[in-house]
Amino acid sequence: MQGPARAYSVSSAPGSAGPREAEAPWKNPAATAYIRIEGISKKFGQFTAVDDVTLDIHRGEIFCLLGGSGCGKTTLLRMLAGFEAPTGGRIFIDGHDMADVPPFKRPVNMMFQSYALFPHMTVENNVAFGLKQEGMPRNQIAERVAEMLALVKLDELAKRKPHQLSGGQRQRVALARALIKRPKLLLLDEPLGALDKRLREHTQFELVNIQKRLGVTFVVVTHDQEEAMTLATRIGVMNQGRIVQVGTPQEIYEFPSTRFTAEFIGNVNMFKCKVLEARPGHVYIESTDLGGRIHVSPGISSAPDAVVWAAVRPEKIILTREAPRESFNAAAGTIREVAYMGDVSIYLVELDSGKTVRVTQPNTRRHSDGAFRWDDRVWVSWHESSAVVVTE
């Protein structure tokens, strides 16, 4: 399942059992994938947009393809829809090879980033469009459309035209239109991208609810890690046409396997290190960035003297005035910046080695007596299990 970059097994990770994972089919080797992407590549002339991607997506999943612009995620989505023909590899949906199936015959519907609502049709006719193409009788169409509009809470606006709707309403029309044919697979291209922040939060929960009720498999493309984290059952991180890492949001965040994943998702402090001792139980590394040793458990298998990176999330770092007990995973420094964000405060600590470390601390108390201030001398430290060793 994982690329060669992966150095250790995620299943041994402590505390990764979320409520959704009780039914995680990707952990069951006997489960057959609903959508199978086998060695898919797409070249535009000299440029390789998608490079030998292999993925198994299971029924009822919300699978997020996450990556920056130009990473190939949209091209991969368009190949699933049939808008682009792959230059290599095959796609199976529910056991059927999609190679010769034209886009208008695929059991795949798509919600476009721009929504692509038909401007000359009412909400009702937009939603009914897919069923009309099948030649379904009128009264049946009306029934299904009414049902779907009720589901997305648009029944009142059935006779409106798209330009008379707000952004959030258009998004729901697009969703209703894409779901009306009960597709085996729904593709969503940046589904929340055009909504403002408040509406996004509301909509993403609604999206998950609708998905659960209908049991449709979702493949979501997004560049927004927050969107991916809240929606996805699993995330596939993409970079330069390749899948870098696949895992649940928690796995991706807590156990990134590469420097790219670690830096792309959330904030992270990276320490360049040399391996001193690598064992299954722990790994000891020496970091000039930190000016000391870093202990990480569980360990990785690595040759001594290999250059690796230790990644530590800002919220996992402890800030103290006194030196911690252990001499490893710790360094002294001076606070250079303090940003009060309300729920948390962000500190930028310049270590004596010269490296600046980002630390976030929850503001558990309302009063700021004894809070850290500019130019305070402090110690940063973290627990052995908080750091992750990643490769380039």
């Binding site: 208008f104 519907n109 721009s114 692509a116 609502l117 193409q133 709707l165 239109r177 055009a194």
Partner: protein, 311 residues
């Protein structure tokens, strides 16, 4: 200077904005409304020998009273004489068929240009407009050279042995339609292009994604959305084609009755200016009414048309 201007603007409400708006209004007043009123006036007069060849609408009687004579005779004559009605109907039919053929030829061309790569688009558009750089008459005469019995087309076909006798194409409806469609094609292509060029291609992808074949997607999405372009182009072709005079005269047969030719004959052969003016007025009415209805329909539908729905 500035003081004078500000005084002017305060006293008469003359501002830069009003001046700019005034220019087209003055233009229309001088070159459309005034000539229109003159023709309207003549259409109510009687014909007479002399200069001008029509009776004045008003004059002063020896008792210094205003004498006004309006005559509806010209219009009544139009209604009575079947020649005019036939000419009107025939002109409308010719214009309609020409518009239809223009649309059939122009739509694929406009669509092709709109979907071509931006690098080619301007070149292709230039090619569409290029014929305008040659005089209209010269281009119509060029068609005579192509279509006549010992013209290029017949010579090539006979040289190839496809036909043994020259095809009679000149002085036929066929030649006339070729001439009209050829001459008016750019007027159809340009509004269609400017409409089609704005279309959002993802709409077609969405339609195909929802199960429409590419052809059905075209019928249900592209075609209705390009309706404003179709109507605008059709107006631009249909209206001048109804009154077309030169092309039927040069390429068409003598038995093709066109209102433009009736107008010409009335003016120059019969020297019946009032009757000719009445024909012109009626023609205007026949053409303006549908346009006004269309305008009203468009105004009501505004906003629901082409506007995309990008957030």
């Amino acid at each position: 200077m500035a003081q004078t201007l500000s005084l002017l603007s305060r006293r008469f409400g003359i501002t830069g904005r009003r001046l700019v708006i005034a220019v087209p209004w003055v233009w229309l007043l001088l070159f459309f409304l005034v000539p229109f009123l003159i023709v309207l006036k003549i259409s109510f007069a009687h014909t007479r020998l002399g200069v001008p060849p029509y009776t004045p609408l008003w004059d002063w009687t020896p008792e210094h009273a205003l004498h006004l004579s309006l005559s509806a005779a010209n219009y009544l004559f139009l209604a009575r004489e079947s020649l005019y009605l036939e000419a009107f109907l025939s002109s409308i039919r010719v214009a309609f068929i020409s518009t239809l053929f223009c649309l059939l030829v122009a739509y694929p061309m406009a669509y092709g240009i709109a979907r071509s790569s931006p690098r080619w688009r301007n070149t292709l558009l230039l090619l569409v407009v290029l014929p305008f750089w040659t005089s209209f008459l010269v281009r119509v005469y060029a068609w005579i050279g192509l279509l006549r019995n010992n013209g290029l087309i017949n010579n090539v076909l006979m040289g190839l042995g496809v036909i043994h006798e020259p095809l009679v194409m000149m002085q036929t409806d066929f030649a006339m339609y070729i001439g009209i469609v050829y001459s008016y094609l750019p007027f159809m292509i340009l509004p269609l292009y400017s409409n089609l060029e704005k279309h959002d291609h993802t709409l077609l992808e969405a339609a195909v994604n929802l199960g429409a074949t590419p052809f059905k997607a075209f019928l249900q999405i592209t075609l209705p959305l390009s309706l404003p372009g179709i109507i605008a182009g059709s107006m631009l072709v249909f209206i001048p084609a109804v009154g077309e005079f030169v092309i039927p005269r040069l390429l068409g047969g003598n038995n093709t009755l066109m209102i433009g030719r009736v107008l010409w004959d009335e003016f120059f052969n019969n020297r019946n200016w009032p009757e000719a003016s009445a024909v012109a007025m009626t023609l205007l009415l026949v053409l303006v009414l549908p346009i006004m209805i269309f305008q009203r329909y468009q105004a009501r539908d505004a906003g629901g048309g082409l506007r995309g729905n990008h957030g």
